[in-house]
Each structure stands twice: as C-alpha cells, then as structure tokens.
C-alpha cells in the first residue's frame, strides 16, 4: 500500500514538474503577451495542482492535507485574478500601440 502511494506521489509530482517546465518553455518561446500568459497560468494551476495532489498521501495528517489544498485554491484564485489583470493591461497597450 505504502509503495503504491509513493508511486502515486512520484508520478503526480513528476507530471506537475513537466507542466511547470512546459510553462517556462512557453513563457520563453511564445511570441506575444497573451500566449505567454496562457502558458504561465497552465503551469501555475495544473502543475501546482498535480504537485499538491501528489503530496497529499505524504502529508501525514488530514490537517496538513487540508492546508496543502487550501494553498492550491488560494494560488488558483490569485493566479486567475492576476492573469486577467495582466491580460487587460497587455490588450490596452496593444490597441494603443
């Protein structure tokens, strides 16, 4: 059972790390602000989500697991808000320039 849980952690955290890597590549390679933002938010939301889900079996207590989930939810909220605001500024700058 423990080995299975460890395997689950390794798979999920690795998948999360791949999402972060893809996000960084997108951030560096995509041509315009909106696409770069798109790459970045996917890394933040899904990448962090996978890492949190992967760490849940290792957290040891329900309380710590709940805290991990709360961190993810708050990052989702902040990431979505900041993404929207950066996108608005970028669109305004594009329509002006």
């Amino acid at each position: 059972m423990n080995a299975l849980l460890d395997l689950f952690t390794i798979v999920a955290v690795t998948a999360g790390a791949i999402f972060f890597l893809a996000g960084v590549v997108g951030l560096l390679r995509f041509p315009d602000t909106l696409s770069r933002l798109h790459a970045l938010t996917k890394a933040d939301n899904v990448g962090l989500g996978l890492i949190v889900i992967g760490l849940l079996p290792q957290s040891g207590s329900l309380y710590a697991a709940f805290k991990l989930l709360l961190v993810w939810l708050l990052v989702l909220l902040a990431g979505a808000t900041v993404g929207q605001m950066v996108a608005r500024v970028a669109r305004r700058a594009e329509s002006r320039g």
């Binding site: 708050l74 909220l77 902040a78 808000t81 929207q84 605001m85």
Partner: protein, 315 residues
C-alpha cells in the same frame, strides 16, 4: 557535492542574478519587479538558513510591502522620467557604482574577518526564555529582552507616517490619501478584494498569535493585514479613510501608547522600565502585541497609500 549543496548553489546564483538584473534593468518599473523577485529568493535563502522568522519578514516587508512602495514610486516617476529623458548621466552612475562597491567591499571585509565561532548571546537568551512565558526565542528577544528596540521601532513607524502626511498640500490636509480608485463593482479585482481578505485577516491574526511559540509575530501579521487593507482600497471596494478621523489616529498611536504604559507600569511592579512581573509576563506581552498589530497594519497601509491628495468630504 550532495543534492542540498547543488540546490543551495543554484539558489545563490539565482539571488545574484536577480540582484544584477535589478541593477541593469533599463526601466524603473522593471527594476522594481526585479527587486520583488530578489526579495522572494532571499526569503528562500533565510528558510535554508533555518531563520524562518527572518524569512517571513523578508517576504512580507522586504519584498512585498517595499515592492508595492517601489512600484507606486515607479508609476509616479514615469511622467518625470519621460520628460527628463534617459535618467542620471554617466558621472552620476559611476559615482553610485563606486559608493555601492565600497559598501559591498566593507561588508565583505567584516564578514570575512568574523571569528570562526561568532560571539553569541543565544544560549543565555534560550536559558532565560521560560521566564517570559513565550516559546519562540525570536519573540522573546523582541518583546522582552530587547523590548526597548521594539518600542522605538513603533515610534519610528508613526513618525514615518507623519513625515509622509506632511507632504500633503494645505487644501488636502486631513483628507483622504491617494487617488480614488474607480473600478466597475463587478470586475475581477473587486471580486478578488472581497474574496481574499477573510483568509488574509485570519492569517494575519494567526501569525501574531502563533508568534508566541512558532515563527511569526506582530510585524509579519500586521503586514499581511496591511496588504489586505491595501487590496480593498486599491480595488475601490472601500475608500481610504480621511486622516483627520479620530478613530484612525487613536488606533495608530494605541500600539506605542499601550507599550509605553506597560513599560512604565513595569517600573512600579518589577523595578525597571519595560520589565514584566514573571507570573503575568505572557498576558502582558499579548496585551502589548494586540494594539501593536493594529498600529503596524494601519501605519504600513497608510504609508503605501501615501500623503492625502483629496480634501475630506470630497469624492
């Protein structure tokens, strides 16, 4: 070289890179953003050095609050910079570089000449900690052993705020700080400013409360509260209060006043200024910390909000 060493070296390289980028970045705005990421990386360094209290302070104040101050300064300077052109000339830059280089060299020299085993009062502080009733040695030092420094720090905060307020034009004196933020009430930022503060306020109070026995404290908690307040003000959900409001001024001085009162009472009860009677040391420290949290949150929030720019009663 172990994995931890590799990570430490990578972290150090990142910190140096962020610092260098902050210096060479062309626009003031980019420099300010660089400074924020530099501060967050530095917080990770403090975590690595097992100084969680310092890491929290660096992230909250060094990076977060100072970052907001620098960003708003950069926004204010944008017009001036565009008008005056490229910024400081070459001689000024060389002069600044020499001064910074000298400071860096002096600090490096001091660090390198430190004795192998640095002189420390840490064992004495730990040994005397039970008498204060708190379990976190950093809080013990801040609130009991070096309480005078903490008290003076609160005075400095209030004085700094008075300094900022004194920049107000006469017709705005007593009025509302900063510009009025008008945003559509159903927008993204107002929604964020309504959703996040309940969590943030809880976290701020928790940081102050848990500071007695774990990393945290009134300053970190107060910074989180100030950040929540600033979010509410910047999203236009609530306007900044007029600085002539009586409740605001009373709340601002409550921290230092209660601290000073407890300190003076210590002269009668325990025989020295800022000494606490041992049996009630912990409740006294809490009594000081609660108004201090309020003072720090209000003062930091108002420092960022800036000098009054609108007369009281106007909108």
């Amino acid at each position: 070289m172990s994995l931890v060493h590799v990570l430490e070296v990578a972290l150090a390289v990142l910190v140096l890179g962020a610092a260098g980028w902050t210096i060479v970045a062309r626009s003031t705005f980019a420099s300010a953003v660089g400074f924020v990421s530099y501060g967050l990386l530095l917080a990770l360094v403090w975590v690595q050095l097992a100084a969680i209290d310092v890491a929290l302070t660096e992230a909250a104040i060094g990076s977060g609050l100072t970052g907001v101050l620098l960003l708003s300064a950069a926004a204010t300077l944008r017009v001036t910079e565009r008008r005056s052109g490229a910024g400081p000339g070459l001689p000024m830059r060389v002069f600044a570089a020499i001064c910074c280089g000298l400071v860096t060299a002096a600090i490096a020299a001091v660090v390198l000449t430190l004795p192998e085993v640095a002189p420390t009062l840490a064992p004495e502080a730990i040994a005397a900690l039970p008498a204060t009733g708190v379990g976190n040695p950093v809080t013990g030092v801040l609130m009991a052993f070096r309480a005078l420094d903490t008290l003076l720090e609160k005075f400095v905060l209030v004085l700094a705020l008075i300094g900022v307020w004194s920049l107000a034009p006469d017709r705005c004196w007593g009025g509302h700080p900063g510009l009025k933020h008008r945003l559509p009430a159903d927008g993204v930022l107002p929604f964020f400013a309504r959703t996040l503060p309940p969590f943030g306020v809880l976290l701020g109070i928790h940081l102050m409360w848990t500071g007695a026995d774990h990393p945290g404290g009134a300053f970190q908690g107060g910074t989180v509260l100030a950040a929540m307040w600033l979010l509410v003000m910047m999203a236009g959900v609530r306007d900044a209060p007029a600085i002539r409001e009586r409740w605001l001024r009373l709340a601002l001085v409550s921290g230092p006043v209660v601290f000073l009162a407890v300190g003076l009472a210590g002269m009668l009860a325990a025989g020295a200024f800022l000494a606490y009677p041992v049996d009630i040391a912990k409740p006294l420290i809490l009594l000081i910390e609660v108004p201090m949290l309020l003072t720090i949150a209000l003062a930091l929030g108002l420092l960022v909000a800036g000098p009054p720019e609108r007369a009281a009663g106007s909108s």
